[in-house]
């Protein structure tokens, strides 16, 4: 699984490994899936649309596979939310795509800094701060580009908190699950001490 072809080749600024391309594509697919089935939206009607968990794949990509995958998965999420936009705000590619690029990168920084201490804390904070990146980035750009008056931010705050909490929960569970599968175990560890194994 770790055979990396083409590492160290020249020709582009960032040379991607095959694994990074594939994982980013697959995570992007999950983001799109959450979008097309509408499961990724939790209806909290207001000017900004709905609370969403579509950014979670980008957070997971950043946390589990590094900044490049997080960046690319976020890009897919952004492009999809632009194509599929139902409100004028996301019809603007700058608002729809640019903030999403940084979700995975932020999640990666947080996760990499904290994973030595505790996997669960690292995942939860990666989820929360990744969500915050999305919210702050999108709303900040929306206000700056004049789609929303600054006052419209206030009613969105509870939704943003809900998004962050959901993202944190899902990130913790999935990171645990993926780590479990990768460690080759088939059952969950019985005591908490065994977390150190992964």
């Amino acid at each position: 699984m770790m055979t990396e072809s083409g590492s160290g080749r020249r020709g582009s600024v960032f040379s991607f490994r095959v694994r990074q391309i594939v994982v980013a594509g697959v995570l992007g697919a999950i983001a799109v899936l959450l979008g097309v089935t509408r499961w990724g939206f939790i209806p909290v009607p207001n000017l900004a649309g709905n609370a969403t968990i579509m950014h979670v794949p980008a957070i997971l990509g950043g946390a589990l596979e590094g900044p490049v995958v997080g960046f690319l998965a976020g890009a897919i999420f952004g492009i999809f939310s632009w194509i599929d936009a139902t409100i004028p705000l996301f019809k603007d590619p700058i608002v729809a795509v640019v903030p999403r690029l940084f979700i995975g990168v932020v999640a990666w920084v947080v996760f990499a800094l904290l994973r030595k201490r505790s996997l669960s804390v690292a995942s939860a904070l990666a989820g929360i701060l990744g969500s915050a990146t999305n919210t702050v980035g999108v709303l900040g750009l929306a206000v700056w580009r004049g789609y929303l008056p600054p006052a419209a931010i206030v009613p969105i705050i509870p939704q943003a908190i809900a998004e962050a909490i959901l993202a944190a929960i899902i990130t913790v569970v999935v990171v645990r699950g993926v780590m479990l599968v990768r460690s080759g175990r088939t059952t969950a560890p019985e005591t908490k001490d065994e977390e150190r194994r992964y």
């Binding site: 990396e4 072809s5 694994r19 492009i79 194509i83 899902i170 999935v174």
Partner: protein, 276 residues
């Protein structure tokens, strides 16, 4: 829940061998781009009315069953209506008092709001239709080739175009696979006594969470398998790669593109007065 595959057509390719399918993918992409730009520019009802015959023409030529498209867009259309109602109720712009039809607290229905929501709805529908039809009528190989060619100039700037296009294509390609998988998971959980069609919003959300974790984990597994498969076949981006089929645009393809561009220009510049 069990009919997701029928109700979500994202990423599918319906090969009817029609002229629309056979159009050179580069020019088809260009035509789709023109129509996407049109969805931003046109902001009158008259303009959209003018574009409609063009879309009907494309659809008839493509021979994609309209019922199939409609059924596959069920979620999208339902959601769109829901959003548009809120656009009307919470219309943020300035409204002259004479235009207000009904108001209650912060909620109000005004002719300005309805017009705004209707235009937004048409804009969204056009964009959705164009991107959906592009995917329904273009095979992934064609789409990849066309995207690579369009973004080739970026390669000069050392942007890894081929790799980025591949990420995009994998994302599209995996959506139907995951939809199939979710259906299977939902059936398996139902067989074990999880009621999927009962309960309130929160219960439903929790059940979806129970589907998400296996999807992520199987996604990572599938990624591992695909990575191995690509490494075994020595994938190394687009450098030095040759194509089995060369694309070539016929005179008819160019005519179609020119026709679409001029049609859109007319619709955009069409003088509309008053409410239209």
């Amino acid at each position: 829940m069990f009919e997701l595959q029928r109700n979500v057509i994202f990423g599918q390719f319906v090969d009817t061998g029609s002229p629309v399918h056979r159009m050179d993918p580069r020019l088809k992409l260009a035509a789709a781009f023109v129509l996407i730009v049109a969805s931003f520019l046109i902001d009158t009802f008259a303009g959209y009315a003018l574009v409609l015959p063009l879309l009907v023409l494309i659809h008839v030529l493509s021979r994609v069953p309209f019922g199939y498209l409609l059924r596959g867009s069920r979620f999208f259309l339902g959601f769109l209506v829901f959003i548009l109602v809120f656009q009307v109720l919470f219309y943020p712009g300035e409204v002259q008092p004479s235009n207000v039809l009904w108001s209650w607290g912060v909620l109000s229905v005004s002719t300005t709001g309805i017009r705004f929501a209707a235009i937004v709805g048409l804009r969204v529908l056009l964009l959705y239709y164009v991107t959906t039809m592009l995917m329904l009528t273009t095979s992934l190989v064609d789409l990849t080739n066309a995207l690579e060619l369009v973004f080739r100039p970026l390669q000069r700037l050392r942007v890894p175009v081929n790799e980025m296009v591949l990420v995009f294509v994998i994302a599209i390609k995996f959506v139907p696979i995951f939809i199939e998988e979710i259906e299977r998971l939902a059936k398996a959980q139902t067989a074990r006594g999880v009621p999927f069609d009962e309960g309130g919003a929160i219960k439903r959300a929790r059940r979806i969470g129970r589907l998400l974790v296996p999807i992520f984990i199987s996604g990572f597994n599938r990624a591992d398998v695909l990575t191995t498969a690509m490494n075994v076949r020595s994938y190394r981006g687009g450098r030095g790669r040759t194509k089995l089929r060369r694309m070539h645009a016929s005179a008819g393809d160019w005519t179609a593109l020119v026709l679409i561009i001029s049609w859109v220009l007319v619709a955009w510049q069409f003088p509309a007065s008053g409410w239209l």
